[in-house]
């Protein structure tokens, strides 16, 4: 036993201990609550409650221990070392906490504990719901506690613990340094951690994950109620208490997702707020089904016809949360997502977690006890086949087929009714349709995001699909045989194409369904009430279409524009016309307006996103491959003012603030250019002189006959220095933007955008490429790093815009130099003849110098050629000055400092953010109203 010096091993042991307690107490809670449910015995339920409270204490204890470790900077712990360091501001400790797999699991578990305890407090020990609902909670907690234990079952590790010392990591066990008692002092790496990824050092990272995970946790409440209801035979009654929680989940999860979008937009250089990345999709899909489930619960309060669908959507929502966890944390996404976690051996545990709750959901839907046992039996047998015989894929596919089969059995046996169908023009019918549309939309996103999973499932059937492909001649089928499917190449276009029709239908339903009555509607009244909204929306749609220049080819955009406008207008009108402005009941309408505005904002800002930096005058594009003329980025030299879109942009300077390197740009209004009589301009290879004072028009050709006289006689030299004709010039300064690059040698540098916000649109700019040297050495300020090449007499050197010919090299011996430097120094100069690469007869000369002392270069003076924005320097001179081949010159070439920037304009993006706020606000109002109604019902 080695006595390690300075180690805080007790914290890890405490954490481990608490993790074990949380696992055991969750298990105890499951058992006690199961008995409490089955035997309707209050003492079992009380024991379950006690166990769950113990579990809660343990989970909170784990959170406290992990936070303490992070606060105290105990870098001997792997989690602390990996996710934090000393320089990091304390406010980001929270981000460190949930940056890693283990911490974010812990966050999720923590929210379950909070919600579970709120439920227990509300029941006050008097509800029959407690035992079955909390059984489900405890089961979920059992799996999550297992994920934090990090134990080995055979060779397979299940979960991973955040309490491992670095010397206890499996890759370090047995290494010699782990035997040094003072290893913490001896090995410098332990003095500081690796730090938090700079991408995540952002206030959004402090609030986005907790919100998102609270949303995920909230989906457990309706799930647990649904399971409890089916288990205890209360097939409908579970919805009443679950309803408010469902809408609470819709609000919080929706807010969490949109916060992620806001984070991406504000702090990441993804070029937008939504990129259909698998990780984003994985959080959106459960929200869609949760919205469907919530609306179906409302339908079911009136009529039972859609009970099965309600249950299905409620159950599937939580399963999709588990599936999204599986996708993003097991490593299956691998190469398809930029920001998923790497697997780290989590796959088997996560897979079992999800499959168990699928099995549980199907089992409780089966009313027949014998069928239930049969289903569980076969599922267990398949598990054994999967694990013991290592036939995982066939076992999973058989399980999937079995589950679908039993779902059909359950539906036919206990849910299919011969009740008359609901009326076509009833609110419940269209709400039902809307929920199905949401389910389909969720299914489409899930399919496309699951492409890597399909590969895993297809792999064992390679031969089969190969044969099928050969015999049918379908290249599509033989493609499946290779199991090498990749996500769509144009992911954003793919999802937009598929989701736009779903969004259209959903928005139309959101618009008119509230105007229908339950059961059946008076259609004349319906038409009367909605007509004004239709007309107003049509007018707005036409107006906006003209404003945004939608063409008929973009009919799909116009259709969505109309549907979203209609939804916003109709729901806004509903508040005043039907609810008479009573805000108490306006929650749903406000939320619907918010949803419609989110769609509208997304449609306008992405559909009419403008690449402002595109097609600006860069250098010469003539020499480039045809396919690469799509220059979407602008090149800016320091000190230059260049026209970009409707602005002139001036790159003023760069400066360093802490780890951030700011690139300061000034923007100017574009003004019409005035010319005075006698001004000379260049157009092509011609020079023109202004006949009189005038303001430049659109086209030179139109101006020329009246305002410009061509010059007959000029030297070519005049051509090079003449200004090009332009009809605009920079006007008054408007604003400054400073996109920056966060310097982080460990994680890589991160470019962060800077955005100018107006009411009607945003200008979003970010650095694509820049010189990141921080200018401690001021001699290089304003220039890119030198590029050194070795040349000899008569050689040529081609740079991006010039051709350099080494004409001669000589020793400078003029009397001034010799008098100043004395004879210890030798000054060499090179005579360079430089040709503009793009203008064959435009020549320059440069004479850079280098000073040698005792055979060592000690100083040099480069020569600048301003018209080319180039600087030529002489680094070394060796050999005989007059012999080609023997003379070796080190020639430095640098371009003036520049950066490459992308600028995007997002019109109408504020509509999106207003929509987000209204969506959250309205849902919150609706939840509040429901909770109050439930309370007054009870009283």
């Amino acid at each position: 036993m080695i006595n390690y010096i300075g180690e805080q091993a007790w914290a890890g042991q405490l954490g481990h201990g608490l993790a074990i307690i949380s696992f055991v107490s969750a298990m105890l809670a499951v058992v006690a609550y199961v008995f409490g449910t089955q035997q309707r015995d209050a003492s079992w339920t009380a024991l379950g409650r006690l166990a769950f409270r113990l579990h809660s204490v343990a989970v909170i204890g784990i959170v406290v221990v992990l936070f303490t470790m992070l606060f105290k900077h105990w870098f001997q712990y792997d989690y602390v070392w990996k996710h934090s360091n000393l320089q990091m501001p304390m406010k980001y400790i929270a981000s460190c906490f949930w940056e890693g797999q283990e911490g974010s699991f812990l966050l999720w578990t923590f929210w379950h504990v909070v919600l579970g305890n709120i439920l227990i407090l509300n029941w006050k020990g008097r509800s029959t719901w407690e035992a079955p609902v909390m059984t489900v909670f405890a089961l979920v907690q059992l799996f999550l506690a297992l994920m934090l234990l990090g134990i080995y079952v055979g060779d397979v590790r299940i979960g991973s613990s955040p309490f491992l010392l670095i010397r206890e990591m499996s890759e370090n066990i047995g290494k010699p340094w782990t035997l040094i008692p003072a290893y913490l002092q001896a090995i410098p790496q332990f003095a500081d951690g690796r730090g938090l990824n700079p991408l995540l050092q952002n206030y959004w990272m402090v609030i986005h994950p907790p919100t998102l995970f609270l949303g995920f946790a909230a989906t457990l409440v309706p799930f647990a109620y649904a399971i409890a209801g089916l288990w205890t035979g209360e097939r409908k009654a579970w919805m009443a208490p679950a309803l408010s929680w469902t809408f609470f989940g819709i609000m919080v999860l929706g807010t969490g997702i949109l916060m992620g979008g806001a984070w991406a937009y504000e702090a990441l250089s993804f070029g937008g707020f939504w990129a259909w990345d698998p990780v984003e999709n994985a959080s959106l899909v459960p929200w869609l089904t949760l919205v469907g489930a919530g609306h179906l619960m409302l339908v079911n309060k009136r009529k039972e016809t859609s009970l099965f669908t309600t249950l299905l959507l409620t159950l599937i929502t939580f399963i999709l949360v588990l599936y999204s966890t599986f996708l993003t944390r097991s490593g299956v996404l691998g190469d398809t997502s930029v920001h998923s976690f790497t697997g780290d051996g989590m796959l088997p545990g996560l897979l079992l977690f999800m499959l168990f709750f699928i099995a549980l959901s199907v089992a409780v839907l089966l009313a027949d006890k014998g069928q239930r046992r049969f289903y569980w039996g076969i599922s267990l047998a398949l598990l054994a086949i999967g694990v013991l015989l290592e036939q995982q894929v066939p076992a999973i596919l058989t399980f999937a087929a079995l589950s679908i089969g039993f779902l059909v059995v359950a539906y036919r046996k206990s849910f299919s009714t011969n009740d008359p169908e609901e009326a076509l023009w009833s609110r419940e019918f269209w709400m039902f349709i809307g929920s199905l549309v949401l389910l389909l939309s969720a299914a489409q996103i899930t399919f496309s995001t699951s492409v890597p999973v399909f590969n895993m499932l297809l792999e064992p059937f390679g031969e089969f699909f190969g044969w099928l492909g050969k015999s049918t001649g379908s290249s599509f089928l033989s493609g499946l045989a290779d199991a090498k499917l990749a996500p769509p190449s144009e992911a954003i276009a793919h999802y937009n194409k598929w989701q736009l029709p779903f969004a259209f239908i959903t928005a139309m339903l959101v618009a008119f369904t509230q105007y229908l009555r339950w059961k059946s509607s008076d259609m004349a009244k319906f038409r009367r009430e909605i007509m004004l909204s239709v007309i107003v929306s049509l007018i707005i749609t036409v107006g906006v279409s003209l404003l945004l220049r939608y063409t008929l080819a973009e009919l799909n955009y116009i259709a969505l524009l109309f549907a979203a406008t209609f939804a916003a207008v109709a729901n806004g009108a509903y508040i005043f016309k039907v609810l008479k402005g009573k805000l108490k009941n306006a929650g749903p309408s406000v939320a619907h307006v918010g949803f419609a505005l989110v769609l509208l904002g997304a449609l306008i800002s992405t559909g009419r996103k403008e690449e402002v930096s595109r097609n600006s005058k860069g250098m010469d594009l003539r020499f480039l491959n045809e396919g690469f003329s799509n220059n979407t980025d602008i090149l800016l030299y320091r000190g230059d003012t260049v026209q970009m879109g409707e602005f002139y942009v001036y790159y003023r300077e760069k400066d360093q603030e802490g780890v951030n390197l700011n690139f300061r740009m000034e923007y100017f209004r574009t003004e019409a250019r005035d010319y005075r009589a006698g001004d000379t301009v260049r157009v092509g290879d011609m020079l023109f002189r202004a006949r009189q004072d005038h303001r430049a028009g659109e086209l030179f050709l139109a101006d020329q006959p009246t305002h410009w006289e061509p010059l007959e006689d000029f030297r070519r030299r005049d051509l090079w220095y003449a200004r090009e004709w332009s009809n605009t010039r920079p006007g008054e300064p408007l604003f400054e933007l400073a996109p920056f690059v966060q310097l982080n040698p460990r994680f890589g540098n991160v470019a962060e955008p800077s955005t100018k916000h107006w009411l009607h649109r945003d200008l979003y700019t970010h650095i694509r490429y820049a010189d990141l040297s921080t200018e401690v050495d001021s001699s290089n300020a304003g220039w890119m790093p030198d590029r050194l090449s070795e040349k000899t007499l008569g050689d040529t050197l081609v740079t991006p815009n010039s051709v350099v010919i080494i004409d001669s090299v000589y020793v400078v011996r003029d009397s001034v130099t010799v008098a100043m430097l004395g004879d210890r120094f030798t000054v060499y100069a090179a005579k360079l003849r430089i040709r503009d690469l793009y203008q064959a007869d435009r020549w320059f000369e440069a004479r850079p110098m280098v000073i040698y002392s005792d055979g060592v270069p000690v100083a040099n003076r480069p020569a600048e050629v301003q018209p080319l924005r180039m600087r030529y320097g002489l680094a070394t001179v060796e050999g005989d000055l007059n012999t080609r081949g023997d003379l070796k010159l080190g020639l430095n070439v640098a371009e003036a400092e520049f950066l490459v920037m992308q600028a995007l304009a997002f019109p109408g993006i504020n509509i999106l953010w207003i929509g987000c706020v209204l969506l959250a606000l309205g849902t919150g109002m609706a939840v509040w109203q429901r909770v109050r109604n439930t309370k007054s019902d009870k009283a």
Partner: protein
Amino acid sequence: MKRSHIIAIVIIAVAIGALVGSLYDSSTYADLQEAMAHPNKEYHVVGVLDRSEEIVYEPSLNASLTTFTMVDLKGNRSRVHLSMAKPQDFERSERLVLIGKATADGAFHAHNMLMKCPSKYNEEHSIEG
């Protein structure tokens, strides 16, 4: 036929359509050899940056063109023209996924690239001693 049956049929049809659509729109992972054998067909190619070859990025000529050499997982190599600005820390990248197509001239033209850096999310310790 009841209305619910019609709805069920429509739902199933759209669902199958979406599934097939997802598969149909999906691209294919391939190595460079396969991509070269089918010019002008879109592929996802996984590989690493060849650090021994020059990475050419001349923003003053074209700010959205980076040219480099990639080695795929089978060791095939090809010159790649990526129509993007050179990403920050490109030299440090650990793994590249290029999305694009081969052309008849034997180069791979990528319009997009996913890049994994060694320490973005997870890194093993390298404490030796």
